[in-house]
């Protein structure tokens, strides 16, 4: 008996997977510490929701979510191209705060804190994915396609240049590569998939509001990327499954609820610190954070 509870967890794993492997592309493979990833997720979710609520078909709102997020990713890459390491982290973080503030205050578009309820489930070729099993299948098809595309990028020559940029940007430039352009493309691509994840999230939960897109939501994704190991897609997958599933048994063990809530965050924080101190490469990482 595959209960709906597990199906729900699997769908969440799927959405987090897309978020994590896309973040891995920019952090692990390109060395861009993008703490604003949730902003792309948010843009994708709102774009998808608004278009879907206005009757546009799945193909359009799903891909539009990705493309709009991609545009934001590209736009973000322009002014930040000269920033390094921690400054880049702060700038991208600042960007995600700005997007959150816009989502909260531009009530004419997003309805602010009231959120957007009643987002329809996707409909393809006349079939509506209203039950979770079919939605799960849709999710995993999208996860698979995203994974294959990103994997292809990482093993392609372009991917090698990205890793070279991460390892030694100056040398790569000396060799004649336009690293700024590379970084832009990487960030834009990473944003594209985050946007797709946002669309899936909006379609699944059928309700979004700004509170789903804060720094709090970045933490699990960032933990996954680091714990799984930088530049390792395999590590990312395993880390996603573990980090999404790990806090769930706590529901059942009967701790008082005042412990279960903070426990989730405590687990993430502790594991992150332990990994950083004792195994900075994460499970399968090829490199350390630079």
């Amino acid at each position: 008996m595959i209960s709906a509870y597990f199906i729900h967890l699997l769908i969440l794993i799927g959405i987090y997977l897309i978020l994590a492997i896309s973040l891995q592309l920019s952090v692990g493979f390109t060395g861009l510490l993008n703490l604003g990833h949730i902003a792309f997720y948010c843009v994708g979710a709102y774009a998808s929701a608004l278009l879907a609520l206005n009757g546009f078909p799945f193909w359009i709102y799903f891909l539009a979510a990705g493309f709009l997020a991609m545009i934001f990713g590209f736009l973000l890459s322009i002014p930040t191209k000269k920033l390094k390491g921690d400054y880049l982290a702060l700038a991208t973080l600042g960007f995600s705060f700005v997007i959150y503030a816009v989502a909260l205050n531009w009530t004419g578009l997003t309805r602010g804190p009231l959120g957007l309820p009643g987002i329809p489930r996707p409909t393809l070729f006349g079939f509506t994915f209203s039950d979770n099993v079919s939605f799960l299948i849709l999710t995993f098809i999208i996860v698979l396609i995203s994974y294959l595309i990103i994997k292809k990028i990482t093993i392609s020559p372009f991917g090698k240049v990205l890793e070279a940029t991460r390892d030694d940007e100056l040398a790569t430039r000396v060799l004649g590569k336009n690293t700024f352009k590379m970084k832009s493309i990487s960030l834009a691509t990473s944003a594209f998939f985050a946007g797709l994840a946002g669309s899936l999230y909006a379609s699944y939960i059928t309700f979004i509001d700004p509170s789903s897109f804060t720094l709090l939501q970045l933490i699990p994704v960032l933990c996954i990327v680091i714990i799984g190991g930088l530049a390792s897609l395999k590590g990312t997958i395993i880390a996603t499954i573990i980090l999404v599933l790990l806090p769930e048994p706590l529901r059942f063990i009967g701790f008082p609820s005042s412990i279960v809530g903070p426990a989730r965050q405590i687990i993430y924080g502790l594991i992150l610190l332990l990994i950083l101190v004792y195994r900075p490469k994460g499970f399968y990482g090829k490199v350390e954070l630079e």
Partner: protein
Amino acid sequence: MSKTLQTIIWIVIIVVIIGVIWYIASRKPAEEEAIKIGAILPLTGKAASYGESAKVALDLALEEINKQGGINGRNIELIYEDSQGQPQMGVSAANKLITLDKINIILGPVMSSVTLAVAPIVEGNKVILMTISSAPDITYAGDYVFRNREKTTQQSEKMADFIFKILEIKEIATLYMNDDTGKAHHSTLVENFEKLGGEVLISETYNPGAVDFRTQLTKIKAVNPEVIHLASKPKDVGMILKQAKELAIEAQFVGTSGSEGEEVIELAGEAAEGLVYSVPSGDITKPGVAEFYEKYQEKHEKGYVEVGALFYDSLKIITMLMKECENPIDTNCLKEKLYQIKDYQGASGKTSFDEYGDATKTVILKTIKNGQFVPYEE
């Protein structure tokens, strides 16, 4: 350790985790007797104080119901899940309750965003959801979704009337929290006040989480209003009143049910005296109300007693109806009966459900006198 071995180890760990969940979940002692009811509450996170308040009230009601014989001899068991105030977590909780615990009736959530996310799930599974969230959209959230809370217009009408006709003030300023509840209260108040012929001189807002209201208060002070309306929650109301006093603002403060909470007194002290607010409440003189307040405050002095009263009544109403149905967990039967509820007298006053599953309640005015929340006498 070779990579393959590592991978195998990780797969084993994952399988073990899944196994543990499965095992524990299926091992629940087969309490054939007890009927299970679920509750999704923000037991942690920003809204944790609401979740806690609700839980205390539910436990109280549970105890009483079971002592009086439960449902035709069978005990009720409450299964709590933490939504952490986040829609995604609420959805996980709902899925777990419905599919693993086989629950047909869920109380809560508290936060509107969580309710709206959970609503499609309960609708699809024909599970009854009784929430207290205030977002207007919940009215249309589904047949099985009930909202044991008055629409904000009820409070706003009463308050607008009070300001205009009783205080005879025609111009006010407002300060509201930028979330669904605050905005709803604010816009309905403005609507009702203007309908009576009043004018809102200035409206200021703040984002949830803010602790410094001084600049908003400065702008309000500049128009010198005699009455300032707050659509907020207790911790913020407390800070606002404190800062207003420090800024030497002399105006009559009025508020919504979000003004009722120990934090207001704790944070504002004497500055809270005289605040008048509307609350969907029981008349203390009617049966059930004063008793509940006493019992509740014994267990949870700093709780939001109004929130508690709503949850207390919710559980009591549902269990009362369960006794009338042949199969106590037949949600169709329960649903029909819930829509019929008219003038149920309980801890939160009189409750009736309309055709959308929204409640109408009696709204009264209360004030803060000598550090206590007491009914307002005109």
